[in-house]
Symmetry: C2
Subunit: 261 residues, 2 copies
């Protein structure tokens, strides 16, 4: 299957899943906590993941699937074709706002980005594509990023990491033009890929970062475990995405020798 056909197929799966989510938004949700009081999962996370995993399994029975809610495989190696599925990214927003959440699907082959798709469900904004087809906002091609300094743009962060300045995240954000906290890795990645934010830093699981990394790299952004390590894509890790110029500033900030305000 060529990349355009694969893109069309994933778009259809996500649209179908999104329609179903929206239809059930006003139902009484079954909400459970996972690792803590703000780490939620609902029946709709599980059902949406089952649907997406089912579609992938049916179409590509030999591929592995790395997914948030446990309906995929127990992935221990990135060899071959591996899908990453996050059925509802920003579950707190989903539960409390019925808005500002994303669905994400990505495909890697031997650990290399092939395809990513982030859908802002309520806004119907698909940011999708990959290195061979380019990156698109719905049907519109997204321009490559141009290098610019941190002070030129808005910087997305994880709230508690920003508050406590863990890994110098507060220093990074305060060196930018302004800090934003959206509560969804997918929506933060959309903003960076679209050039609306200059960067994003958080502590992310493989399904949180997989689609965003494909799209970010496709438009020329860097995605690293700072200061400059490659992502493992197998465990939660600190991740920064920004352009090459601002990444140098981030690296200086992490070494503690950056002039912050």
């Amino acid at each position: 299957m060529d990349i355009q056909a694969l893109d069309q197929l994933v778009m259809q799966w996500l649209q179908h899943g999104a329609n179903r989510l929206i239809a059930h938004l006003d139902d009484q949700l079954q909400v459970n906590t996972k690792s803590g009081r703000s780490d939620l999962v609902t029946n709709l996370d599980r059902e949406t993941e089952q649907f997406l995993v089912g579609q992938i399994k049916q179409t590509f029975p030999d591929d592995q699937i790395f997914s948030e809610e446990g309906f995929g495989d127990h992935v221990q190696s990135l060899k071959g074709r591996v899908w990453f599925v996050d059925p509802i990214d920003g579950t707190l927003n989903f539960v409390k706002q019925h808005d500002n959440f994303a669905m994400m699907v990505a495909l890697y082959e031997d650990g290399q980005p092939v395809y990513g798709n982030i859908l802002d469900v309520r806004r119907q904004r698909f940011v999708h594509g990959g290195p061979s087809m380019g990156a698109y906002l719905n049907q519109f091609r997204i321009a490559p990023v141009t290098p610019r300094p941190l002070a030129d743009g808005l910087f997305g962060v994880n709230g508690p990491m920003f508050a406590k300045n863990r890994y110098h995240v507060q220093d990074m954000a305060l060196a930018s033009l302004g800090t934003r906290v959206l509560g969804s890795a997918g929506l933060e990645f959309q903003q960076v890929v679209l050039g609306n934010s200059i960067g994003y830093c958080s502590y992310l699981a493989p399904w949180d970062v997989a689609a965003g990394r494909v799209l970010a790299e496709t438009v020329g952004l860097k995605v690293v475990v700072p200061p400059e390590n490659a992502l493992s894509m197998l465990k939660r890790e600190l991740i920064v995405t920004t352009n090459a110029q601002a990444l140098q500033e981030v690296q200086q900030i992490m070494q503690g020798d950056h002039n912050t305000k």
Copy 2:
């Protein structure tokens, strides 16, 4: 003029202004800084304010206007009818994202809330109304808030105040279910009024807070200069909006005797 007729008129003004903004979003903006590098004003802020102030002046020549960019009056007293106009709230988002900004208009009489309207321009979401007509999201009536604790909802804050824990803002936000930083007082007020966030705290000018206060009080929220003072509506001040139960927690946090995590 009755409140419904006034509402229709303001809706038309805002829609006209919004259409014009969207039509000119891709023009080269003239961007200037005001008090600092992240306090921006553009030619479109000024032109939009001139339009809104002109409409108010033409329709209500005896009313005073308190507006951000200086085309209104030099308001020194809230006696009589006073309009508050913020042509583009979230100018940084407007400039860098072409999204996530609001237009705001409010009317007070002898310092008492009469009418407020916050338009999320790109989403075409009007949150509008007042004590005599109720609060609406576009044509849908917004339900009154129910008291609930801070830990039950998302809390919006100003980024730098959160980072530095000024006025215990970080303590408040970390006692909630999660922190959000949107970069627009208007959009933060929309979230609280709609019940999507449990509260919002920032340091705001009269035009930043005027419409939000009308709408928040209309749905039963408190809007105070914490711990419990009334707003002056004539100068920048620390402002908290939340429900009565969570406000008690905020007050305890500001007195430093709250059990934060």
